[in-house]
C-alpha cells in the first residue's frame, strides 16, 4: 500500500500537512497499544516525509539553476569556503614567493585540483545545497554570542593557519602543528565548528590525493584531529560526499587508531571468555613458543650438567608437558610466552581447560612437533589459524 494512502492524504510537498495527518492517526494507533499499526503508520510517515523533501529539493535545484544563470551562484550566504580559499591562495602565492618552496608546490597542486573540476573531491565546492560549508553563517537570532565580525576574523586567520599546517603536513607528521585549533573560542559554535571541520578534512584529503601521501604516514596528525573533530564518527557523511575509494584509507587509520589505545592485555580471571573469541595470529604464537623454549633451555641447562643433547631434549619435553600444561590449566590460561603475547588457551566455548585436557593438549603438541617435521608445513597451510594440535585436542588459542 502506498504511503499516502496509509496516511489518507494526497501526495504533497508540504511537510506540515503530512505531520497533521500522522498526528491524528497516531491517536488511533498509539505505539504502546497497537505496536503493529503504529509501525506501519510510522513507516508510511517517514516515507512520505522523504518523498515530500525530494520534491522540495528538486524545486530548490531549479532555483539554483536559475540563480546560476543570473551569475550570482556564490552570493554572500552561500559563499563556499573553497572560493575564499582560492582567493587567498592567489594572494598567498604572491606573498609567500620568497618563502619556502613547499608552500608553492602545495598551492600549485591545489590549483591543479581546481582545474580538474570533475574529480569527486570537488563536489563540495559546487554550490548545490552544501550548507555545511557556510562557515561563519549567522542566524537571525538576537542572542548571538560571537558577532559576525569575530567569526569572520576567526575564519580568515583559521584559513591561513590551516594552510600553513597543511604545508607542514606535506613534509612531516607533527600533531603540534595543529594545536592552534584549541585556542579558538569561536570554534565552540557548533555551526562554525562543523564547517571548519569539513574544511580541514577536505584540505587533508586533497593533500593526500594530490601528493600521493599515504594516510598511514600522517597517522598521529590524523588521530589528533580526529580527537578534536570526531571524524571517525562521520564516516557515512564523508563517504557520501567524497566516495568510499577516496576516504577509506583515512578511516582505516582513524578506526584502527582508536583500537590501539585500548590496553592490550587483560588480567581478569573469568570463568568464561567475555566478548568475541578471536584467534591469535600464527606468528605471534611462534614467537610465544620460542620464548618458552628459550626459557626452558636456560633452566634445563642450569639444572643438568653435561652437554648431552638428548638429555636436554627429554627435559625440554618434560618441561612442556608439565609446566605448560599446568600454566594453561591455571588462571593464567597460557604459558609465559603466550601471556607475554596476549594469548590464552580455552575450549571452543571459551572456558578454561582442566588439567587433563591441558596435559592432553601438550602431549599432542609434543608428538606432532617432534615426530613429523611435516606438521610445521601443514600448520602453515591451515589458514583458519587453528593448528593441528588445537584441532586434535579440541582447544583454541585466542586473544586475551
Amino acid at each position: 500500500m502506498n504511503c499516502w494512502k496509509t496516511l489518507g492524504i494526497m501526495p504533497t510537498g508540504d511537510a506540515s500537512l503530512i505531520k497533521k495527518a500522522y498526528a491524528s492517526l497516531l491517536k488511533v494507533h498509539r505505539p504502546d497499544e497497537d505496536p503493529a499499526g503504529f509501525s506501519k503508520l510510522n513507516h508510511a510517515y517517514k516515507q512520505c516525509l522523504q518523498l515530500s523533501k525530494q520534491q522540495h529539493y528538486s524545486d530548490e535545484k531549479i532555483d539554483h539553476i536559475e540563480e546560476a544563470s543570473k551569475g550570482d551562484l556564490l552570493s554572500d550566504s552561500r559563499s563556499s569556503i573553497d572560493q575564499l580559499d582560492y582567493d587567498d591562495q592567489d594572494e598567498s602565492n604572491q606573498d609567500k614567493q620568497e618563502e619556502n618552496h613547499s608552500s608553492i608546490t602545495v598551492s600549485s597542486q591545489k590549483n591543479n585540483l581546481v582545474k580538474t573540476t570533475d574529480t569527486e573531491l570537488l563536489k563540495s565546492s559546487t554550490p548545490e545545497g552544501e550548507d555545511s560549508i557556510k562557515l561563519g553563517h549567522i542566524g537571525d537570532d538576537e542572542d548571538t554570542i560571537f558577532s559576525e565580525d569575530s567569526l569572520e576574523k576567526a575564519k580568515e586567520s583559521l584559513i591561513q593557519l590551516t594552510e600553513s599546517a597543511i604545508n607542514k603536513m606535506l613534509k612531516t607528521d607533527k600533531p603540534d602543528d595543529w594545536q592552534f585549533i584549541t585556542s579558538y573560542e569561536e570554534l565552540y559554535d557548533i555551526h562554525f565548528r562543523i564547517g571548519y571541520s569539513d574544511y580541514v578534512f577536505q584540505q587533508i584529503l586533497a593533500l593526500f590525493h594530490d601528493n600521493k601521501i599515504k594516510p598511514k604516514a600522517r597517522q598521529s596528525s590524523l588521530l589528533y584531529l580526529d580527537n578534536i573533530f570526531g571524524w571517525s564518527d562521520q564516516e557515512k557523511k564523508y563517504e557520501e560526499e567524497y566516495g568510499y575509494e577516496n576516504i577509506y584509507s583515512i578511516f582505516d587509520i582513524l578506526i584502527d587508531g582508536q583500537n590501539n589505545q585500548e590496553t592490550p592485555i587483560k588480567w581478569s580471571v573469568e570463568p568464561r571468555h567475555k566478548g568475541p573469541i578471536e584467534q591469535a595470529g600464527y606468528y605471534k604464537r611462534i614467537f610465544a613458543n620460542m620464548i618458552d623454549i628459550i626459557l626452558y633451555v636456560i633452566v634445563s641447562s642450569s639444572l643438568l650438567n653435561g652437554d648431552n643433547i638428548g638429555d636436554h631434549f627429554i627435559s625440554l619435553i618434560g618441561f612442556f608437558l608439565i609446566m605448560n600444561a599446568m600454566m594453561e590449566a591455571s588462571p593464567m590460561q597460557g604459558s609465559l610466552g603466550k601471556v607475554l603475547f596476549g594469548i590464552k588457551v580455552t575450549t571452543y566455548k571459551g572456558r578454561r581447560l582442566n588439567i587433563l585436557h591441558a596435559l592432553l593438549r601438550q602431549l599432542i603438541y609434543c608428538i606432532s612437533t617432534l615426530s613429523f617435521k611435516i606438521t610445521v608445513w601443514v600448520n602453515l597451510f591451515l589458514n583458519d589459524g587453528r593448528l593441528l594440535h588445537d584441532r586434535i585436542s579440541r582447544s583454541i588459542a585466542i586473544k586475551r
Binding site: 505531520k19 497516531l26 491517536k27 505496536p35 509501525s39 542572542d143 582508536q258 583500537n259 567475555k274
Partner: protein, 566 residues
C-alpha cells in the same frame, strides 16, 4: 489506581504522580522534594536512606554508599558494614523509600511505577533498573528515557506548532542529548545520544584532584572520612561557583595549612577535558536528525549539573542563544515520569498526547569477516536495528552458516556503532543447533524486537527445521538470573528499617554528627556536647521536650553551617 513516576538519579531521586491534570511532586518524610540517592546502615543494623544517609557519608563512610547508579548492570558489590549489596539492591532500597513516601502522601497502596533511565543506558542496565523496581515491590509499567521525560514537561505547555527542542540532560553521572519535535499533540523524538560516564560527579572529582594537588596532599594519605569530607566541601564549592566568581575553601583538613581560592577561570580550565566531551553527543544528535543548530527553537537544560555557569556559557556559545531551563532542572524528569504515568493510566487530560521515542544506539550481530586473514579484526558488526529508529520496532535479517558441517550457530548480540564487533558492547549470545550441511546452505533468521521500554528481545529461527529460540537476551555476562533475584529478595526482606516517625530527629542527629566530623577544635567539642544532650533527651521520650530540643539544635546547626560554608 495510581502509577508512581520515579526519577532514580545518580545523586538525587524524586517521585511524582499525575493528579488533577498536572504532575504533582511528592515530598519525602523530611518534607523535601529531593531524596539523595544514598544508602547506609546504622549502628543498630537498620537501613537508612536519603538525607540521613547523606549526612552519614562523612561520619560513617564505611557504612554508607552513594553514586551506585553508575554500577547498574555490573556485578560490582558495595559493602555496607558487614553486608555486601549490588547496585540493583541499593536502588531497590531507594525505590522502596520513595514508594513509602508516596503511599503516605496519597493514602493508598502503590504497586505500579514508571521509572526514568538515561537515554544511553544499554539493555543490561535497563533490565537492572526494572529488576530494582520489582525488588522494591513495584511493577515497572514503563522505563522512560530521562531527556524524553523532561521533553514531555516542556512539550505539554508548548503551544506553538512544529517546534524543535534540544534537550541537554547533564545529571550526576550521565549526559544525554535528545532532539524532539512537537506538533499537534505529538512529541516525536528525532534522535538521542549520550555519554554514560560524564556527569556532575566527574566535575567534583576533578576539583578534588586539583585541591589535593594545590595542597600537596596525596589521596592515599587521607582516611575515608577525610576523603568524603573534602568531596562534600568541594561539591558545595562547585555549587556556590554557579552564583559567584570566586569561592574560598577555608582550612577544613588537619593537613591543609592555608585556605584555597577557587575561581571560575580555574574551574573552567580544569573542566575543559570534560566540557570537550559534551560536544560529541550534541554533534552526533544533530547529524543523525539532519537538523542544523538554527532549526532548533529552544535549547533546554535538564539535570542539576546544568546549573554550572561554565556549562551554561559553553552551551550559549555552541548554539548562539541562551539556553532555557525555567522548570527546576532537578525535578523536571520526575514530573515527566508522572506525565507518562498519567498516559499509562489513560488520564482524560492527556487524550491528545502521543509520545514516540527512538532507540539511541544500533543493535546487531556479528558475522564472519572474510577480509580478516590474520584474526586481527574479528567479526564484522551487522546492524539489525539502526540507531535512532522509532520504537517499538521489529526487524529481521537472515544469515548463513560459515563453515562446512557446522553444527551450532552462535548469535552474538551487540550494541554500538563500530564496524567491528570487538569495539561494540557485547550484550549476550544465543546458540542454536542447525543440521549439518555445506557452508552457506543452512540459514537462520534473526529477529530483533525493541519495545517502548528500551528492552530488546531476540528470536532466532532455523529456516530448514523451523526451530525457534525465543529469548530476551540470555547469557549476558552481567545480567542477573532468576536465582540471583530471589536471593536479593530474601536478603532485602531480612533488613531492618527505621521507623518512619523518628526520622526527623534521626536526620537532625546525623546532620549534627556530620558537622562534628568536619569541624575542628572548640566547635567540635561544642557539637559533641550538643549531640550528647539531644541523645539524652531522645531517650527520655518526652515528646514536648524533644520538640523544643530539636528546634533549638536545628537553629544552632543552621547558624554553624552558614558560618563554615564560605
Amino acid at each position: 489506581m495510581t502509577i508512581l513516576g520515579i526519577d532514580l538519579g545518580t545523586t538525587n531521586s524524586a517521585c511524582a504522580i499525575w493528579q488533577d491534570g498536572k504532575a504533582k511532586l511528592i515530598p519525602n518524610r523530611l518534607d523535601k522534594l529531593l531524596t539523595p540517592s544514598v544508602v547506609g546502615v546504622d549502628s543498630n543494623g537498620e537501613v537508612v536512606v536519603g538525607d540521613i544517609a547523606k549526612h552519614r557519608l562523612i561520619s560513617h563512610p564505611k557504612e554508607t554508599v552513594s553514586v551506585f547508579k553508575r554500577a547498574m548492570g555490573t556485578q560490582q558489590e558495595f559493602s555496607l558494614g558487614k553486608q555486601r549489596f549490588t547496585a540493583v539492591e541499593l536502588s531497590a532500597l531507594i525505590l522502596r523509600n520513595l514508594k513509602e513516601d508516596a503511599e503516605n502522601f496519597t493514602g493508598e497502596k502503590i504497586d505500579q511505577a514508571v521509572i526514568s533511565v538515561p537515554a544511553y543506558f544499554n539493555d543490561v542496565q535497563r533490565k537492572a533498573t526494572k529488576q530494582a523496581g520489582e525488588l522494591a515491590g513495584l511493577q515497572v509499567e514503563r522505563l522512560i528515557n530521562e531527556p524524553t521525560a523532561a521533553a514531555m514537561v516542556y512539550g505539554l505547555h508548548e503551544s506553538a506548532d512544529e517546534t524543535q527542542f534540544m534537550i541537554l540532560d547533564l545529571g550526576g553521572g550521565t549526559f544525554d542529548v535528545t532532539l524532539v519535535e512537537f506538533f499537534a499533540g505529538v512529541m516525536e523524538v528525532h534522535a538521542s545520544s549520550g555519554d554514560n560516564f560524564l556527569g556532575g560527579e566527574d566535575f567534583t572529582n576533578f576539583l578534588v584532584e586539583k585541591f589535593l594537588e594545590a595542597n600537596g596532599l596525596n589521596i592515599n594519605s587521607l582516611t575515608i572520612a577525610e576523603r568524603q569530607h573534602i568531596y562534600s566541601i568541594l561539591n558545595d564549592a562547585k555549587h556556590a561557583l554557579s552564583a559567584r566568581q570566586t569561592v574560598v575553601v577555608e582550612q577544613s583538613l588537619k593537613q591543609q595549612d592555608k585556605s584555597w581560592t577557587l575561581t571560575r577561570e580555574i574551574f573552567e580550565e580544569m573542566a575543559a577535558p570534560l566540557l570537550d566531551r559534551i560536544r560529541f553527543p550534541i554533534e552526533k544528535t544533530l547529524r543523525d536528525s539532519g537538523a542544523s543548530p538554527s532549526d532548533i527553537s529552544q535549547v533546554v537544560l535538564v539535570g542539576g549539573a546544568t546549573r554550572m555557569q561554565t556549562f551554561r556559557s559553553l552551551v550559549t556559545k555552541m548554539f548562539r542563544r541562551m539556553p532555557s531551563g525555567h522548570i527546576d532542572p532537578d525535578l523536571v524528569v520526575a514530573m515527566g515520569t508522572a506525565i507518562q504515568a498519567g498516559l499509562k493510566e489513560k488520564s482524560s487530560d492527556l487524550d491528545d498526547v502521543v509520545l514516540t521515542d527512538v532507540c539511541p544506539y544500533s543493535l546487531g550481530t556479528g558475522v564472519l569477516n572474510h577480509a580478516d586473514r590474520h584474526g586481527k579484526q574479528g567479526n564484522i558488526f551487522l546492524p539489525i536495528i539502526e540507531r535512532n529508529t522509532t520504537v517499538p520496532v521489529s526487524f529481521e535479517r537472515t544469515v548463513a552458516t560459515a563453515q562446512d558441517n557446522q553444527k551450532v550457530v552462535s548469535v552474538g548480540i551487540y550494541q554500538g556503532e563500530s564496524r567491528l564487533v570487538k569495539n561494540n558492547i557485547f550484550l549476550g549470545d544465543i546458540e542454536v543447533k542447525v543440521p549439518k550441511a555445506p557452508k552457506g546452505k543452512e540459514t537462520i533468521t534473526i529477529r530483533y524486537s525493541y519495545d517502548m521500554n528500551g528492552l530488546l528481545e531476540v528470536d532466532v529461527t532455523v529456516d530448514s527445521t523451523g526451530l525457534i529460540v525465543n529469548k530476551t537476551i540470555i547469557n549476558s555476562p552481567d545480567s542477573l538470573s532468576e536465582e540471583d533475584i530471589k536471593k536479593s529478595q530474601e536478603k532485602l526482606q531480612h533488613l531492618k528499617f527505621h521507623p518512619r516517625d523518628t526520622e526527623t530527629n534521626r536526620a537532625l542527629l546525623a546532620r549534627a554528627e556530620r558537622l562534628y566530623e568536619s569541624s575542628l577544635d572548640d566547635r567540635r567539642e561544642y557539637l559533641g556536647s550538643l549531640i550528647n544532650d539531644f541523645e539524652v533527651l531522645l531517650e527520655k521520650q518526652v515528646l514536648r521536650d524533644i520538640e523544643i530540643g530539636a528546634k533549638k539544635i536545628e537553629a544552632i546547626l543552621d547558624s554553624i553551617e552558614k558560618d563554615t560554608l564560605f
